[in-house]
């Protein structure tokens, strides 16, 4: 009888075999149960131990006194608030960029003006760059079979399924939603409304940093929701995903998911038609590559 999920990544078993079944390994289960019992005992002791009265931090001479009670009620402000509010959202065209530095991380913020994004498969966006004000690689490509990673909907057509990354972006009837969820009804809505949907690593969820397992440093990009604007934020230096996500939180991003960084292709064009290429444009190996593309308003 098969023990359905009773297998770890360090084990193998022959299906239907009677003489082989998970390969003998170190008795992790015994160790885990023992540790759980010890942890439970420690937790009970800690809970029952008499507590010292809760103390506020001691006030220093050189630090202004803080009214802790009022902090939660204080209006949330962030460094980009004034700049974002000043953007002319009715007549502006092209992508408006701003450079800033947060936590010693140089960031460039791209805000595409008066354009609704869409997803595209293949490298067509590169060849038609003059008709787009901004694009970056969206979903990842699987290393083993070169398919799209995670659920993906292109103009209402589901092309990929599965949950490998919890962050998502949905573009439905002109509305862009960036969020974090295992299952999102927006996937089905995208298929019903001719919309778009893709998944990526989550970075920020309702103003809180989301931890990810990727630990290396690289050029990072994120699709962000900030003060009602959809923007792309990119680092100008190689950073860990954690530090990047923290920087996004600190500049006031409410929701963000990762966009492929490093040498992945990207493009931005300002109001005067001056374009900037990012990444390596000569390498085009993946037919399932996907881009999130903001077209010129006249091309929509």
């Amino acid at each position: 009888m098969i023990r359905e999920e009773n297998i770890s990544d360090s084990e193998i078993r022959v299906i239907g075999g009677s003489n082989l079944q998970p390969t003998p390994t170190f008795p992790w289960r015994v160790v885990a149960v023992s540790l759980a019992v010890i942890a439970a005992v420690v937790a009970v002791v800690c809970l029952l131990w008499p507590k010292a009265p809760e103390q506020l931090p001691e006030q220093g001479i050189f630090e202004p006194e803080t009214n802790y009670a009022s902090l939660d009620n204080a209006p949330k402000t962030h460094p980009l608030q004034g700049w974002l509010a000043s953007l002319d959202s009715i007549t502006a065209v092209g992508t408006i960029t701003k450079d800033t530095t947060v936590n010693d991380i140089p960031l460039r913020i791209y805000v595409p003006m008066n354009s609704t994004p869409r997803l595209e498969i293949g490298y067509g966006a590169l060849d038609n760059r003059e008709r787009n004000i901004l694009f970056f690689q969206a979903a990842d490509v699987r290393a083993d079979n070169k398919k799209i990673v995670g659920a993906f909907v292109l103009r209402g057509q589901p092309l990929s399924w599965g949950l490998s990354k919890r962050g998502y972006c949905a573009i439905i009837d002109g509305k862009v939603t960036v969020g974090v969820a295992d299952n999102s009804p927006l996937f089905e809505q995208a298929t019903e409304h001719g919309g778009y949907f893709f998944r990526q690593y989550p970075l920020v969820d309702n103003g809180r940093l989301v931890e990810n397992e990727l630990k290396n440093k690289s050029i990072r990009r994120g699709l962000c929701e900030i003060d009602g604007h959809i923007a792309v934020v990119a680092t100008q230096s190689t950073e860990s995903l954690h530090d990047f996500a923290q920087a996004l939180v600190d500049i006031g991003v409410s929701n963000a998911i990762y966009l492929v960084g490093s040498t992945a292709q990207g493009w931005s064009m300002d109001a005067e038609g001056n374009g900037t290429k990012m990444g390596l444009w000569d390498e085009r190996p993946y037919k399932n590559i996907s881009f999130i593309v903001w077209p010129l308003t006249s091309d929509i």
């Binding site: 098969i2 359905e4 999920e5 297998i7 770890s8 990544d9 360090s10 084990e11 193998i12 078993r13 022959v14 299906i15 239907g16 075999g17 082989l20 390969t23 390994t25 083993d144 079979n145 398919k147 399924w161 599965g162 949950l163 490998s164």
Partner: protein, 121 residues
């Protein structure tokens, strides 16, 4: 009569695939991808553990040619071509000489290597 095909049925569709055409099956969240000889891949809306149980139940005589490797893979032993334990690399080759490079833990690959060595004696 020897059952040679695996049938996976849902309310909407049915997949019937010859056991000998299954190269490997990988989990993809709550679903599985069937990779078949010739390069065809098909997604099924079952978890890998459920597919493992179907193989055991429907293909009792052939099921021992399939090996579950860790939480995310089932492979067809007949297509194992190369195992490199330190590199955590497992290469399958189908009848048309297409190569499929997979990754698994060192412990699992070591156990797989020993299993194949034992079966070849």
């Amino acid at each position: 009569m020897l059952n040679t095909h695996l049938v996976i049925s849902t309310s909407n569709d049915l997949l019937r695939v010859a056991a000998s055409h299954i190269l490997y099956i990988s989990s993809d969240g709550n679903y599985c991808n069937f990779f078949q000889t010739g390069g065809e891949m098909r997604l099924v809306t079952y978890q890998l553990g459920q597919v493992e149980r179907m193989i055991a139940e429907q293909l009792p005589e052939l099921s021992t040619q399939f090996v579950r490797i860790g939480k995310s893979l089932i492979i067809n032993l007949n297509y194992v071509y190369y195992i490199h334990v330190p590199k955590q690399q497992l290469i399958l080759v189908d009848g048309q000489q297409n190569r499929y490079t997979l990754s698994a833990s060192k412990e699992a690959l070591k156990a797989l290597k020993e299993l194949i060595e034992k079966n070849s004696l």
